[in-house]
């Protein structure tokens, strides 16, 4: 399945791109896609467990299954501290 991944903020700096496409196996989930990314970009590992996940602009979970053409975003921490 072809999945589009959007990268923002610190993630975009690490990956060097705002958007990339990935081929994943049928049955892949948000979590398995994240593992693929961490292998390719080891500096992402520090974000594990501190992320929010979105599939097609909806909040999702690591267990959420993916489908052909989905847009996935791994949302780095947004807690902008205290305005």
């Amino acid at each position: 399945m072809n999945i589009k991944v959007r990268f923002f903020a610190g993630h975009r700096d690490i990956v060097g791109a705002a958007e990339q496409s990935f081929e994943v196996d049928t049955g892949a989930t948000v979590g398995t896609l994240w593992e693929v990314l961490v292998v390719r970009y080891p500096r992402l590992a520090g974000y594990s467990g501190r992320l929010l996940y979105a599939v097609n602009q909806e909040f999702s979970a690591l267990q959420t299954p993916l489908a052909e053409g989905d847009e996935v975003a791994f949302i780095p921490p947004v807690s902008g501290g205290s305005l």
């Binding site: 903020a9 610190g10 780095p76 947004v78």
Partner: protein, 138 residues
Amino acid sequence: MMIEPFVISEQPIAPAPLVAYVQTPGDGAVVTFTGVVRDHFEDRATAYLVYEAYPEMAVPVLRSLAEEARERWPIGRVAVHHRVGRLEIGETAVLVVVAAPHRHAAFEAAEYIMDRIKEVAPIWKQEHWADGEASWRE
């Protein structure tokens, strides 16, 4: 003028039209939160900020946070505008405006929405320090 209540934009935020938008004759209280770029963070001097959003998602998230607040307190109209791009010290980054019949609900809802924005809205802030370094606030 047609007002969009939930907006992510590079344009400066004008509070007056949003306050006018939320005000309806049955609501006696309007609470406005203005988030302003400060000149420092934890003793380090700031030069300017850059905000970035996932706008296709952030706008619906702002709308859903207003709905969360509406489930908790009896409130009227809500508007949230968030700026992105480069912001100088003293510029408004975010404006949350909540109208309600009574003031306590308006205060609670405005603070709740702002807290939730900080927790889940896909909007990031990059601090550009006075010493020339830059870092994402994470």
